[in-house]
């Protein structure tokens, strides 16, 4: 017999076999004590009387010692049989009556013995008990209370098991959700890379056509470096702002070759923000958008400024260009694949806590703003 049921040390009391052993030992001890005490009466000794034995003196409530296991067995059988609840109510009602009847008969039998009445008087004494002071229905109440307690414990156990299952499911769901998010992010990133590559390759083609082969070579070299670094952490959904800016710097190196001296890139970064975690490749699509719809649309435009600031619990990222204002056609706004991706990723990762906004900057230029929770890798 193993005292442990696998739930660890101290769980012996969950093992019904120990309880059975305890009950059997108790029953044997109780019976032996009662018989030993009544031995003189059982042997019809000269001074022996049933009146002085524990069988007469002990309260009848001791019978519950024998009734309780029966009740537990009945409950277990009912639970296994999965009967209709009305059937269970009926059976428990019948058992309550039977146990009450047994108590009354036990009391009457004891009176028959102690008063030396003939056994044929047992029905008379049973009736006499009612006539004298009414039968006691307390055993029925005790029985029903016990049954209610057993059901309560049973329901509590089921509820606890349900709770455990629910939390396990929740954990599994969360893990699954994380995997799904990661898969989605990867998919988005996979959408991003071809787009960027397509633009860059167009630039290289353009440089080659214009016999600017030297510059085309530089771009190819820069692009190679960019792709290498990109592939290094493509499995990561998040990255530090510092690495993100470094990556962005590589991107601007390529774009600077394309636009030669016309492009001026400024970084206005609060050093405290460098360790902040941001979705990887978050800024590059905004920068690319600024280049495509701002710098390249207006020959006079040349400034592109990236800034990062902390505002309490929030991180504010801005990509500014001094190109032309946004077109009046709202539908055109945010239609670009890069912006759509960025917006989708922010929603996926932060929900309502993050925001992406594209607006005109007075008196000139366009600002792309991202607000997201300020988190570092050590944040909870």
């Amino acid at each position: 017999m193993n005292p442990s049921n696998g739930n660890g040390v101290g769980a012996w009391w969950r093992n019904w076999r120990w309880w059975l052993l305890f009950w059997v030992a108790g029953s044997v001890a109780l019976t032996a004590l009662v018989l030993w005490d009544a031995r003189s009466w059982l042997q019809d000794g000269p001074q022996a009387t049933f009146r002085a034995t524990k069988l007469n003196l002990w309260p009848l409530e001791i019978l519950w010692w024998f009734f309780v296991p029966v009740i537990l067995l009945v409950h277990r059988s009912l639970a296994r049989a999965e009967r209709h609840w009305l059937w269970a109510v009926g059976l428990h009602g019948l058992l309550a009556l039977i146990i009450t009847g047994l108590f009354i008969v036990a009391q009457a039998y004891r009176l028959v013995l102690v008063n030396h009445l003939p056994i044929t008087f047992l029905p008379v004494v049973v009736n006499d008990l009612r006539w004298m002071r009414g039968w006691s229905y307390l055993p029925a109440l005790v029985y029903l209370a016990l049954v209610l307690a057993i059901y309560a414990v049973s329901f509590y156990r089921q509820w606890r098991a349900g709770q455990r299952l629910t939390s396990q499911l929740q954990v599994a769901n969360a893990q699954l959700e994380t995997k799904l998010v990661r898969a989605s992010l990867d998919a988005l990133k996979m959408q991003l890379h071809p787009h960027f590559l397509f633009n860059t390759l167009n630039s290289i083609t353009s440089l080659i056509r214009n016999n600017r082969t030297r510059e085309a070579e530089d771009i190819v070299a820069g692009l190679g470096e960019l792709l290498r670094r990109s592939l290094d952490h493509k499995q990561e959904a998040m990255d530090t702002l510092e690495r993100e800016l470094d990556f962005l710097g590589r991107y601007f190196e390529i774009e600077r070759i394309r636009f030669q001296d016309r492009l001026k890139v400024e970084f206005d970064i609060d050093p405290k923000c460098l360790r902040a975690e941001v979705p990887s490749l978050l800024l590059q699509p905004l920068a690319e958008n600024a280049m495509k719809h701002g710098i390249s649309k207006d020959p006079a435009a040349r400034l592109l400024r990236v800034s990062a600031q902390r505002d309490g619990t929030r991180l504010l990222l801005t990509v500014y260009n001094d190109g032309p204002a946004l077109p009046r056609d709202d539908a055109a706004l945010g239609r670009g694949i890069g912006l759509q991706n960025t917006h989708a990723r922010l929603q996926m990762l932060y929900g309502d806590e993050a925001r992406l906004r594209l607006r005109d900057n007075s008196p000139q230029g366009v600002r792309a703003e991202i607000i997201l929770p300020f988190r570092t890798s050590s944040s909870p």
């Binding site: 009146r51 009847g101 009457a108 044929t120 008087f121 047992l122 004494v125 009736n127």
Partner: protein, 542 residues
């Protein structure tokens, strides 16, 4: 499980619906031939100075084992020789000299001596007041009991020689001789005190030495079995071979024991008339009026109760018929006087009920509709909590007169303290006579005021009682009636109810006689036509 359920339901149905009538009564076992079996339900001790209820069982038990100096004729109430063969009064009726019978013997063969009575009575004087008061008429007995006298020799009890006992009284008391028939005044062998203390009689019944018609044969938790005592002087006149006192768990079980043929007699307060007995054993219920009274005592020194009109109003407002509960109709009867009917002396009708007159008297006393009347405190002992009658009296006074009563139940110590201080208005209680004499119940009105419940004193009543104690016969009865009329007119008490006593008897018990003091001695009874079971009957009695 279904089969087990079926068996249990079937078994219970057999028991619950089994036969309950016309069962065979058990035939008397051979060893019970001529043994009278008396059922009792409360603890019984073979000690004359431990009185048990009902008194009739105590009396029968003690009078089976011990014999007092005299016994009263149940018909006339006249004292007859018992342990004493003769007696003589001094001229002033203050000295009683009793001569013991020379053939009086203890169960161990020792002669019964005068010193055995002196020893027993000195022991009684050291007992509780409700027992010791029996000897208070004896000179210095009350003072000795109350600790005002140290030496027992100061008490007016003297063993002049082996067979001569002298009793000196404080005052003449013609009823004293009858009072000596009380089981409390039985003699005690010098070994008895020790035998009772160590309860040696359970192992050695002969250790309990007695002088009565029976001696102890066996004692255990189921009761006592007595056998005819060979040393008893009147053995030839005793027709029973023995008496068995059988303990039953309740009156109901006792009645079933008799019905089953296991017992023959059971005194009890009441039996339900409509009870159907489970056997056809011939049984009868004997009924007799107890020589006692239940009533309320007014503390006449307190507030409005000093006014006779108020006391009369309270008495007139009671409705006795209404007061007695339906379940007690067989046990209680309305009391219109302090002394109930007695053989040769019917009870008087000294009270009536008239609520309108009660209200008029109360208004005349200055309390119209009870206005301005203080709350009456009724102090009762704790054991009386289940008694509905004190509160019912209070209800009646409130309903008819607008007088409120506060009923309090208190511990003996608290109650004794309250009694000593006189801090109560009303006491509810009962009084039981110890001699078959109407004056016995009236002596409560001659007690010193500080010891009486009513704190009431009437010198003329004391004078009349002293006079009556010198008289006998009709002359005495006339004086006693005068005392009762005078006392009831002053209303220090209100008699409410008399009690009836019942005895369930198998008709094979013969020689039963009425006794207002419930002292039917088993030595006067016998068994007749009792069917005897053949040998080897498995049911061989208890």
């Amino acid at each position: 499980m279904s089969l087990a359920l079926l068996v249990m339901v079937g078994g219970l149905a057999l028991v619950f619906l089994g036969p309950r009538e016309s069962l065979p009564a058990e035939a008397r076992g051979r060893q019970d031939r001529d043994v009278l079996r008396i059922v009792y339900t409360q603890a019984l001790r073979p000690d004359p100075h431990v009185r048990m209820l009902p008194l009739s069982t105590y009396n029968q038990f003690i009078l089976s084992l011990w014999e007092p100096l005299v016994e009263c004729d149940p018909l006339t109430g006249e004292p007859q020789p018992a342990a004493a063969a003769s007696w003589a009064w001094s001229d002033d009726h203050r000295l009683l000299t009793l001569r013991l019978r020379p053939d009086g013997r203890w169960s161990n063969g020792d002669p019964v001596t005068a010193q055995d009575f002196v020893r027993a009575w000195q022991r009684l004087l050291r007992a509780r007041i409700d027992l010791a008061y029996m000897l208070f008429p004896v000179k210095n007995a009350e003072a000795y009991h109350r600790g005002q006298r140290e030496h027992p020799e100061d008490v007016g009890l003297r063993a002049l020689d082996e067979l001569t006992l002298q009793v000196e009284l404080e005052q003449p008391r013609t009823t004293l001789l009858a009072e000596l028939s009380d089981p409390l005044l039985a003699p005690m062998h010098h070994s008895t005190d020790q035998a009772l203390a160590d309860q040696a009689f359970y192992e050695q019944p002969a250790a309990l030495v007695t002088n009565g018609p029976f001696r102890l044969q066996r004692a255990n938790a189921d009761g006592y079995r007595l056998e005819s005592c060979p040393a008893y002087h009147g053995r030839a006149g005793v027709r029973l071979a023995g008496v068995q006192f059988i303990r039953a768990n309740s009156r109901s079980m006792g009645a079933l024991l008799i019905s089953a043929g296991k017992a023959d007699l059971m005194p009890s307060a009441s039996f339900s008339a409509e009870r159907i007995w489970p056997t056809r054993r011939p049984l009868t219920v004997e009924t007799e009026l107890e020589l006692g009274v239940v009533g309320t005592y007014f503390n006449v020194t307190r507030g409005p109760l000093r006014d006779l009109r108020v006391r009369r109003a309270l008495a007139l407002a009671i409705n006795r018929e209404e007061l007695i509960e339906e379940s007690d109709r067989a046990r209680l009867v309305p009391a219109w006087s302090w002394v109930p009917d007695m053989p040769g002396r019917p009870g008087l009708k000294l009270f009536n009920e008239d609520a309108a007159e009660a209200r008029r008297l109360l208004a005349e006393a200055g309390y119209p509709e009870g206005k301005g009347f203080p709350v009456l405190r009724m102090a009762l002992p704790l054991w009386m909590e289940g008694n509905p009658y004190p509160a019912a009296c209070g209800e009646r006074w409130f309903k008819e007169l607008g007088i409120s009563t506060y009923v309090s139940y208190e511990s003996p110590d608290k109650r004794s303290e309250r009694f000593s201080a006189g801090d109560y208005d009303i006491i509810y209680g009962s009084l039981i006579a110890t001699v078959p004499d109407p004056a016995d119940l009236l002596t409560t009105f001659t007690m010193p005021a500080e010891f009486s419940e009513t704190k009431w004193r009437d010198d003329e009543i004391i004078q009349l009682m002293a006079e009556a104690n010198h008289k006998t016969g009709n002359e005495r009865l006339s004086l006693v009636e005068l005392i009762e009329r005078r006392a009831m007119a002053a209303v220090p008490v209100v008699p409410l109810m008399f009690e009836r006593r019942h005895t369930l008897r198998a008709t094979e018990v013969k020689g039963w006689y009425e006794d207002p003091l419930a002292r039917q001695s088993p030595k006067r009874l016998w068994l007749e036509s009792a069917p005897i079971a053949p040998l080897n009957n498995p049911h061989t009695g208890t």
